[in-house]
Amino acid sequence: MSVTYIDAIREAQEDLLREDDRVFLYGQDIASFGGAFKATKGLAEAYPNRVFDSPISEDAMIGLAVGAAIEGMRPIIEMQFADFSSIAFNQIVNQAATHYYRTGMPIPITVRLPSGGTPGSGPFHSQSMEGLYAQYPGLVVVTPATVSDAYHMLIDAVKMDDPVIYCEHKFLYRWLKAKSIKGEHLPIGQARIARPGKHATVVTYSAMVHEAVRAADRLQQDGWEIEVVDLRSVKPLDIDTVLASVARTGRLLAVGEAFPWGGVTAEVVSRVTEEGFHLLDAPPQRLNSRDTPVPYHPKLWAAHRPTPESISEALRKLLSF
């Protein structure tokens, strides 16, 4: 028996609904239909007054969630695709994110963003928006890469008093399997060594953790031992774990699926060079997607985002310094 990443997301929501009366789910097509990706399948039947179909009003969905949070609830909002959260951008960054600093009252909402590319999804169903939300003060941004992180980080996100942007990767939904859902439970704010190594460090998160591990496997055939750090949350960013890894390897490649300007990889490289310059034996490198919208056709898409091939290539270049 194996369970998938999406099973973990579904189960976390079920456990939250069962254990905490303050939790409710609001989103498009999430009630009887169970959601575009079936992340809430069966939950409306089990909790009929706690799971709601929303009108197509992303801005109001977040506005409603913040209002409910003020009244003590812990809403989970499902965006149908991360890309549509652009409509809710104002409520997220200006209403939810500023509330604690402005009023002293934290806003415990969790916004689920089905993120990242899959073949044939195109420019508006493929975006990775973690680096945008992380720029705003007042938000926690998590990016689970494993089945047990998908579970535990969703549970912890909802328990947390602050607003959490929970970026779940669509590619991992059914592709990523594990023996059980509730594996290792690390706290939010702590990164994880996904694969130990000693010659270079890849810092990444979400689906790219798996691509990086595959790249590392390839390089191992040539005797290179690559360490892969899974950030788990991109804000806060666990720089200590990253620096400790770079201290061991002397080399850094930051990999992300988002667009190349700014974002997580720039933050990682900047933090490491600011705080751990002396640890570096070679110029730190970045690998992101290309600086165009995410193309629709699978052949273009595969060349738009980092792959085991392009990560391996970047690593070989890094190792050759």
Binding site: P55, G67, A68, G72, P75, Q91, R102, I155
Partner: protein, 331 residues
């Protein structure tokens, strides 16, 4: 329509008068350079705002005021000192001067602190009511918010009101159509006759009222609140009036044509209200004068108190936008 209740009229009027006296003071302080940032007044809108605040039940209902709701805030129980502290920079204020002027609130007392983005409080109030329903405390509750004519053009207003209608929430939205959004006149803002014509399309109750007339406001806004309280779903009240100040105190409103100022809605709701109260036997001139004095002193005290309190100290400031510490281990 509800029958006019003397106590209601007197309370509403007291909030109107107190707000006017406070705002006149804020205006002088602004002109004297004692306030940094903008000052936004509700001059001319006190009847609308005061009646709404008075129709709400403190400790039970919720109310998201906007920029011209000093009267409603006062009626809903916001202490004057919250206002003067915020405008005058006292760290004792509800926002610790991290935010200013009309962006203050007491969310735990049912009065959220507005963000600037117009329309954004509409879904927020809907959410507060939605939560009360889930908690089983919604019965007999109302949630209210005010917007201007300009704010009706925002997507947030539309999405929020439609969502409240779908959820059949006891929400009252008062649209103060003061004919201008900053300098922009109604004809550049919407193309229907009266904004109340929108109510039917949302499936909500609709009312149109003379916003300069206390009696009319008391009756119509009272009725809207009552219908919401009875579970009849969202209610939209469109109040017609004129903004009697500039957009903010930095603005002289020169773009408002003389004809509008001299027209029917140019009249001052406070003066009308005094006439109505006296003529209807709800209050005497002497009583009103006594209130005026009482409130002037109260305002004086609130200003003096705020002025003697400490300004913020950046070295003592807790520069944290999150309440959580990391790594986060849930308790």
């Amino acid at each position: 329509m509800i029958s006019l209740d003397g106590e209601f009229l007197r309370s509403a009027f007291r909030s109107m008068l107190k707000a006017r006296i406070l705002e006149n003071k804020l205006s002088s302080l602004y002109k004297a350079g004692k306030i940094v940032g903008g000052v936004y007044l509700g001059k001319g809108q006190e009847a609308v705002s005061g009646c709404l605040g008075t129709a709400l039940i403190q400790g039970k209902d919720c109310f998201a005021p906007l920029i011209r709701d000093q009267a409603g805030r006062t009626a809903f129980g916001e202490p004057l000192i919250d206002c003067t502290r915020t405008y005058l920079g006292s760290v004792e204020g509800p926002m610790k001067v991290r935010d200013g002027n009309i962006h203050r609130g007491r969310p735990h007392k049912g009065m959220p602190a507005m963000i600037s983005h117009l329309g954004a409080q509409v879904p927020l109030i809907a959410g507060m009511l939605f939560a009360k329903r889930l908690k089983g405390t919604l019965d007999g509750c109302v949630g209210a918010t005010c917007v201007g004519d300009g704010a009706t053009s925002t997507g947030a207003f539309h999405e929020g009101l439609n969502m409240a209608a779908v959820e059949k929430l006891p929400m009252v939205v008062v649209i103060a159509n003061n004919q201008f959004a900053y300098s922009t006149p109604n004809n550049r803002q919407f193309a229907c006759g009266d904004l109340v014509e929108r109510a039917r399309g949302y499936g909500v109750g609709g009312y149109s009222v003379d916003g300069t007339d206390l009696m009319a406001c008391a009756s119509v806004i009272g009725e809207a609140v009552k219908q919401a309280r009875l579970g009849k779903g969202p209610q939209m009240v469109v109040a017609h009036l004129l903004r009697l100040s500039g957009h903010g105190e930095h603005d002289d409103g020169a773009y408002v044509p003389d004809s509008a100022r001299a027209g029917y809605y140019g009249r001052d709701c406070i003066e009308i209200a005094i006439e109505q109260l006296v003529q209807g036997g709800y209050a005497s001139q002497a009583e009103i004068e006594a209130w005026r004095e009482e409130f002037s002193e109260e305002v004086q005290r609130a200003v003096a108190q705020a002025q003697q309190e400490a300004l913020p100290d950046p070295y003592l400031e807790n520069w944290s936008a999150l309440s959580t510490t990391f790594p986060y281990i849930p308790s």
